[in-house]
């Protein structure tokens, strides 16, 4: 029983990170049909923004020394700022370009951000201690888990609920959902395209900041490639969830996290190093079964 509970918490906390990242990607895809591959590098950028530039293996906190109540909003703002800046400087100019062009631009932007961090901090992973108190275990229903794991789950739930309320209850949310479904029609009804897109980038960037904080607190390392692997899984999650579907992205993100954890448990010891092969095998099976994604948005199938 406690072992099962442990697995569930592991699955949820890993899935939470994937879900948040997938949400950030799905939001942008929804309003402008762009898979923003620079998203993973936003995450790394937010993490390194806490540190003083240096090439040492031991991280020197700079912004990271701020008290938590300040640190969290500052990092979220940095994520939002970077994301908004990339829209203003790059994506807005490519608005009428074809999707492949925008995607390549996002790869390029990712490399630029990645190498910017590389220049200042070197490629050596740094150990970093953020909120060490959170690694203390707590006991829930007999299962012992780090407080951080619990926090990751709670934070994700809070973000998803807040985002859902924002999308459902506010004028901006209504406009964003409409724009995601049929951008041209929304504009013909007076929805201001640039404002909606900018807001989507801001939210997406904040999500990157939140993921950065959670990742650093969990792993204790800052690594310039840390966003990349999350980005890959998150991208897969948005496809499996049904591109453009926000609930789909969240659920698929958690699902992939759960499958990863489950494989870790059920695979024989010898096969565990190849866990990812099994995870992605499941992904392929899922895509063959439902190529349009688990929760393809209704806009995908037009009524005659």
């Amino acid at each position: 029983m406690t072992a099962l509970l442990q697995i569930i918490f592991d699955a949820l906390s890993l899935g939470s990170i994937y879900a948040l990242a997938a949400l950030g990607i799905a939001l942008i895809f929804g309003v402008m049909r762009l898979i923003n591959f620079a998203h993973g590098d936003y995450i790394a950028f937010c993490v390194f923004a806490m540190l003083a530039p240096s090439t040492d293996a031991m991280a020197v906190m700079l912004l990271g020394n701020l008290p938590t109540v300040l640190l969290v909003p500052v990092i979220l703002a940095i994520g939002a700022g970077l994301s908004v800046l990339s829209e203003l400087l790059i994506y807005r100019r490519l608005r009428d370009a074809n999707p492949a062009t925008m995607m390549v631009a996002s790869f390029a932007l990712g490399f630029v951000i990645n190498h910017f961090i590389l220049m200042l901090y070197s490629s050596r992973p740094k150990s970093i201690s953020l909120w060490p108190d959170l690694s203390l275990p707590v006991e829930i229903l007999g299962a012992r888990l780090p407080l951080l794991q619990l926090l990751a789950i709670i934070v994700t739930v809070a973000i998803v609920v807040a985002l859902a309320l924002f999308l459902k209850r506010t004028r901006f949310g209504l406009e964003m959902r409409a724009a995601a479904e049929n951008f041209t029609m929304a504009r013909m009804l007076g929805v201001r395209a640039n404002r909606v897109i900018l807001l989507a980038f801001a939210i997406s960037g904040m999500l990157a900041g939140a993921i950065g904080l959670l990742l650093v607190a969990q792993t204790g390392t800052a690594d310039i490639g840390m966003g990349g692997s999350v980005m890959l899984v998150a991208f897969i999650a948005t496809v499996i969830g049904g591109l453009g579907s926000l609930p789909g992205a969240v659920i698929a993100g958690i699902l992939i996290g759960a499958i990863s954890v489950l494989m870790q448990v059920i695979l024989p010891l010898d096969a565990r190093p190849f866990r990812d092969a099994f995870v992605y095998g499941a992904v392929i099976a899922c895509l063959i079964w439902r190529p349009q994604g688990l929760f393809a948005p209704k806009s995908a199938k037009q009524r005659v």
């Binding site: 479904e181 029609m185 013909m188 009804l189 007076g190 209704k298 806009s299 009524r303």
Partner: protein
């Protein structure tokens, strides 16, 4: 007062010229039908006004402002509301959310509520299911929804691409009744694309015939119906 004036509008899709030096002027409160065979450029004409396609040449003035190459959202704010061809309902949004979407540009919030109630009265089918996703509506109901949605934006000029398509005759009558009432009560100007000229003759108003991207005939709908000029122009007898 001239509400809309197109002056020598040319629209190209790559090599193809969809609209060739079209000039057209609409008075406030007028009813204008655009008719013509498939591929004549009827929808392109509406899209050019809406700002969805940019004209290669020419000017479009709406309420005195040049709107050629302006953004669709800015043109909507000047009082132009469009129902494009194909039912562009937001399937994931509820019916009421669909109706409310276009009201963001209005400042008369009390009037919005009155208008919403009025729309529901005209289309009771929408009221019954106002909180369910619009994607679940039947084709005809979706067509009602997009017309009602365009009206909810409180336009001075509404352009509708084939309002009759897929609607039962009784509902078509209702839609036209509503449009004409709003024209008479609020001075709404109507620009309507219809494949057939029958409705134009019934309703009256001005009729414009487009063929191969050019306006080749215009005049009073009922006058045109009397002679055979319309048929000739439509099918291009005696030219080839």
């Amino acid at each position: 007062m001239t509400l809309l004036a197109l002056d020598n509008i040319t629209v190209k899709y790559g090599q193809l010229t969809a609209l060739r030096q079209a000039s057209l002027s609409l008075e406030a409160g007028e009813t204008v039908f655009i008719t013509g065979p498939n591929g004549a450029g009827k929808s392109t004409l509406l899209k050019a006004i809406a700002g969805v396609v940019a004209p290669a040449a020419g000017t479009i003035r709406l309420a005195g402002e040049n709107i050629a190459r302006r953004r669709p959202e800015d043109i909507a704010r000047l009082g132009f509301s469009m129902v494009p061809e194909g039912r562009h309902v937001f399937g994931n949004l509820s019916i009421e959310e669909n109706l409310r979407l276009g009201t963001g540009i209005r400042s008369d919030k009390a009037q919005v509520r009155t208008d919403l109630a009025a729309m529901y009265e005209i289309f009771p089918a929408l009221f019954e299911r106002r909180h369910s996703p619009a994607g679940l509506l039947s084709g005809g109901q979706q067509q009602m929804l997009v017309v009602a949605r365009a009206l909810m934006a409180g336009p001075k000029l509404i352009a509708i691409d084939e309002p009759s398509l897929g609607l039962a005759p009784k509902i078509i009558d209702q839609v036209y009744e509503t449009l004409l009432r709003l024209r008479d009560q609020r001075g709404l100007t109507l620009l309507i694309v219809e494949q057939s000229s029958a409705r134009a003759m019934l309703t009256g108003g001005r009729m414009i015939l487009l063929r191969s991207g050019e306006i080749i005939l215009q005049g009073d709908a009922r006058e045109l119906a009397k002679g055979d000029a319309l048929q000739k122009a439509y099918f291009g007898y005696g030219e080839h």
